[in-house]
């Protein structure tokens, strides 16, 4: 099945970018921006962050901890759904691709440091670049390996992540 815009490309200076990828980037920006606003500007977002920091203290301040966990889980699932929709546009899919993407998500989160939104963004781009360079230099099969090795090295040398505060 091919849509009218599937093969379309956009020239950005000397680089040619597929239209679908550009839109994916736009949607990712919008989702992250929205998440950031939600977590920092709404009561529920503040409650989520408070619970993450210290659930006992949060519950003493009247935060319904169970509901916050439920909401955060639902929100995370929804964002994974957005990512899944973007993946279908430009990548091959099958029922069994979940573990690979889950690992990628974990790598990015650890690279960034748990709970750092800005770090997650930078780490995501960093991982993508590292994978592309590795695939180019050593061959496609080592694309995943490089991400995992990067992950282990960061985990051992800097467990709080590149952008996380030290515990």
């Amino acid at each position: 099945m091919t849509t009218a815009y599937a093969g379309r490309v956009v020239p950005l200076g000397p680089v040619v970018v597929p239209l679908t990828r550009l839109w994916s980037l736009g949607v990712a920006f919008a989702a992250l921006g929205g998440l950031h606003l939600f977590l920092h500007r709404t009561d529920l977002g503040r409650a989520i962050r408070a619970t993450a920091e210290d659930w006992e203290a949060a519950s003493l301040m009247g935060v319904p901890v169970r509901r916050v966990y439920r909401t955060a889980f639902a929100l995370g699932s929804a964002l994974a759904g957005v990512a899944g929709a973007l993946v279908t546009v430009s990548d091959a899919i099958s029922p069994a691709i979940g573990l690979g993407w889950t690992l990628k998500a974990l790598i990015v989160v650890v690279l960034a440091g748990l709970g750092s939104m800005f770090g997650t963004f930078v780490a995501g781009i960093l991982l993508g670049m590292a994978e592309s360079v590795a695939a180019f230099a050593f061959g496609g099969v080592f694309r995943e390996v490089v991400g995992l090795v990067l992950f282990l090295v960061i985990l051992l040398l800097r467990p709080q992540g590149l952008f996380g505060r030290s515990p």
Binding site: L106, V110, V141, F142, L155, L156
Partner: protein, 316 residues
Amino acid sequence: MRRAGAVVGGVALLVLPLVLREPAVVNWAFLVLLSVTLAQSWNLLGGFGGQVNLGLAAFFGIGALLTRTLWLGGVPVGVALAAGCAGSVLAGFLVGAPSLRLRGPYFAIGTLAMAEILRIVVATTLPEVSALPSRAIATYHLLPRYYLILLVAAATTLAAWWLSHARFGLGLAAVREDELVAESVGVNAFRHKLLAFLLSAGFAGAAGGVFGYYHPSFYPQFAFNPVWTFDSVLMVFLGGIGTVWGPVLGAAFFVTVREVLALGFAEVHVLVFGILFILVVLLLPGGLVEIGRSLRRFAPGRTAPGRHPADLVGRV
């Protein structure tokens, strides 16, 4: 009473392939015992030590690959198995020494990443299927394979029993409950975790070694498949985490139900199985051993055990 049950079960397993000579039955018993070994080896570290190792498949794979290569190269199978086991322990040391300093989810994800790296490297460097040569096929007998895995499964369960009684096991339990408190009363947390990790890796390697001796043909990467890890974790939770007999029950239940469902439901058996698993976890958070425990609670003159094994789960 439990000891009598263990003796009766052991004797039954010893004579089973002699009485029921049906290869399908012996193969089923082999798979159960292989799963018991793997589940129990995960339980040694995960249940008794509270460390979630999601890289079990790597040690299984190393054991399988080393043992098979040596055995097909002409080394006696016992020696090959010992070498495979030693290789897994060595790998366990190389992985465990740095990664056991990580806590909680970081350790789990780190071990998973390590296993995936190994799987991809093996899949790339050894893409050919590993099949037995014709002379090995001609002399293939199921019985020695069966007794070998029976021995390994028994040894792994014995190790779990030892952990539940010995001083080392108590130290490990203290580390599982609270690492800081354990350290403050003089338990070297890191050393306890590392030793349990080596024990677990060694038995997983032994399971892999017997698998490499048993299976006529498989792709080397298959032994590194994360399914080996996740199935074992399921079995441990099904049976009862942190108990000696839980993984045994869980493995027998898991393998049997899987085979029965696969026969009855064909393609959708995974779906049925997943639902069944969720039900067991929701209704019996302590695993299948919980059933026996609740029955005993109603028996006169007995007091209920104090601690719920499911409490361990929260610590993971």
